[in-house]
């Protein structure tokens, strides 16, 4: 859909789509306009508040804040879900609880982590990064030396190529947004542009690829096209203002914005410039999704345009009819999000959501839209467009092109990768929210 099509003319702040979706500007216009906007809808009568008295926690001095702030004890259930909850020694996946967060960046303790042999306990003073191969002069960098380089800070999502894999199931899995889409997070990354270091080493004209390799026990390595390395790849040292978390690559990781998470090599210690890809296990086998008919994609790097609603969503049941905000995140490897549409009737009619500023390239964009729940059944969906003109495919489109699993997988399974279709949340008359296909 082009820009012209995406611009709608709002005559008033009436309903924008069926089943209670309002004009996206309703919340931003304030009380009187909002009241007008919801004229004609039955609003549940608010309960009368009780008489206020002094609170028990207000009668004496509180707890002094420690040197590193920890969250309220009432928030301790906001955690990642783990595939090795008892620390079992094996590949580990931990998922971001999107339904319990808001905004656009993921707190460091809740950023998703996939590691295949745990996080190495790296002494930053001993850590070395070597750049070699097809360069004029192989070079070794210490963390201390990298700290003297000019740095940049950029908001970028990182998404596992296997995020949303349960959506390949032929039947909808009974799961929440964390279970379905927990392997994507977004952070402000600060570090040194890789191009700066490569230019210092001197790029041989025959170099076309590089491998990035970690100092984890498996020495995980991936092949990266040199063009991406010179475009926007970064040696990230900071995550949301503090040094990288161990699970995200402390003390340094490669960041290839918008590209498959596995390529953002953590605990980075070696970059070798090559004239060919190395065909590491992860590009030759693991992240090469099988297509209907038996061929497989190779070098499927981009995490294409996607969105999902985080609230309401399973686990966040409705609390009586009335006005709610539908909110979620959208992102694309192909740049900024240009538009998000939301449906409350399973995709029959759509209204345009507001995109919260700033809308940044290859980063989470938060979308919001007011919604009047009348207490009846509803199916919520979102669909995103990016500035390159790509649109999130419908489920039937993506299944037609990519197939679906031959059997119902477990929530921890990875039947395929790179699912970017929509997610549907069904709301029943009791206000319970459930994952469905629609």
């Amino acid at each position: 859909m082009n820009k012209k099509d995406s611009t709608r003319v709002w005559k008033d702040l009436g309903p924008a789509a069926e089943n209670g979706l309002f004009d996206r500007r309703a919340f931003f216009k304030g009380g009187s306009v909002l009241a007008a906007a919801i004229t004609g809808y039955t609003i549940a009568k608010p309960l009368q508040a009780q008489t206020l008295s002094d609170d028990p926690w207000s009668g004496s001095a509180g707890t002094p804040s420690g040197p590193y702030e920890t969250r309220s004890r009432f928030e301790n259930d906001v955690v990642r879900t783990m595939t090795n909850p008892n620390g079992e020694p094996r590949s580990q996946q931990s998922r971001t609880p999107h339904h319990m967060l808001d905004g656009t960046f993921t707190p460091n303790g809740l950023h998703f982590v996939i590691s295949r042999s745990g996080s190495p306990d790296i002494d930053p003073e001993q850590h070395r990064l070597v750049i070699h191969g097809l360069v004029k002069q192989p070079l070794v960098f210490t963390l201390e030396s990298l700290m003297r380089y000019p740095m940049v800070s950029r908001m970028h999502f990182v998404e596992c190529g296997g995020n949303s894999a349960p959506m390949w199931s032929p039947e909808p899995l009974d799961a929440d947004v964390q279970g379905l889409h927990g392997y994507v997070s977004c952070a402000e990354w600060s570090g040194v542009m890789l191009s700066t270091l490569l230019e210092e080493a001197g790029i041989d004209p025959t170099a076309k690829w590089l491998i990035a390799e970690g100092s984890d026990s498996l020495a995980l390595h991936r092949s990266i096209p040199l063009s991406k390395a010179l475009d926007d790849a970064m040696i990230a040292l900071y995550q949301n203002g503090e040094k990288l978390m161990p699970g995200n690559g402390y003390p340094m990781r490669l960041l290839v914005p918008g590209w498959e998470g596995n390529m953002n090599v953590k605990w980075l210690r070696r970059i070798e410039l090559l004239d060919q890809p190395a065909m590491s296990i992860y590009e030759a086998r693991t992240y090469a999704p099988i297509l209907p008919g038996g061929k497989a994609y190779q070098f499927y790097f981009l995490q294409e345009v996607k969105s999902f609603i985080t609230r309401p969503s399973p686990g966040l049941s409705m609390n009586g009819q009335g006005l709610y905000e539908i909110s979620g995140v959208a992102y694309s490897a192909n740049g900024r999000i240009s538009k998000v549409l939301v449906s409350a009737d399973g995709g029959q009619t759509w209204a345009e959501a507001a995109l919260q500023e700033p809308v940044l390239s290859k980063a989470f964009t938060r979308f919001r839209i007011p919604w009047q729940w009348d207490g009846g059944p509803a199916v919520l969906q979102s669909r995103a467009w990016d500035e390159a003109g790509h649109v999130q495919p419908t489920r039937s489109e993506i299944v037609a092109a990519r197939g679906e699993a031959s059997r119902v997988p477990s929530l921890n399974g990875f039947p395929s990768q790179h699912y970017n279709g929509p997610t549907s949340w069904q709301i029943d008359q009791a206000g319970e929210v459930k994952h469905v296909y629609a």
Partner: protein
Amino acid sequence: MRNAEYLAILAAGLFFLASTNSYTQTPNLGMPIDEQDIAAWDIDILPDGTGLPLGQGTAGEGKIIYEQKCAVCHGVNGEGGISPALAGGDPLSNGIDTGKTIGNFWPYATTIFDYTRRAMPWFAPRTLTDNEVYSLTAYLLVLNDIINDEVVMNANTLPEVRMPNRDGFIVRFPERTP
């Protein structure tokens, strides 16, 4: 000090100054290192065989090592266990979730050597000798009916192995890059 050595050191110093001056915009704090001093880290094997070390192995030796160190996770005869199957496997046309094995999926035999040497066994990576890795690679290729059990795997023969699914891929980069 002989004159030639003196001149060499002087030349190196001048080169260093020149290279420093040519990168005035960045700190230029990378320390030069010789490729031979990177050897312990430089373990990647390329599809054309670049990086393969000296040494050799056969499936007979590989089977013994496999049963000692690999079968506990990958199952007897590579049939799979708590870790994925390495041998056999259904046709990929059975579905997008078909289990990937060396025989039905892997496009390059060099990847077997690379990954086995760098990452296996999971509890003790990089403890296998190069001969042991060649032997295991040979055994895994025999299990998948790709070579027969007399073939010796070494730096010359391994890259020549033609994998059954070599042409089973549609490359999305760079063609699909916007």
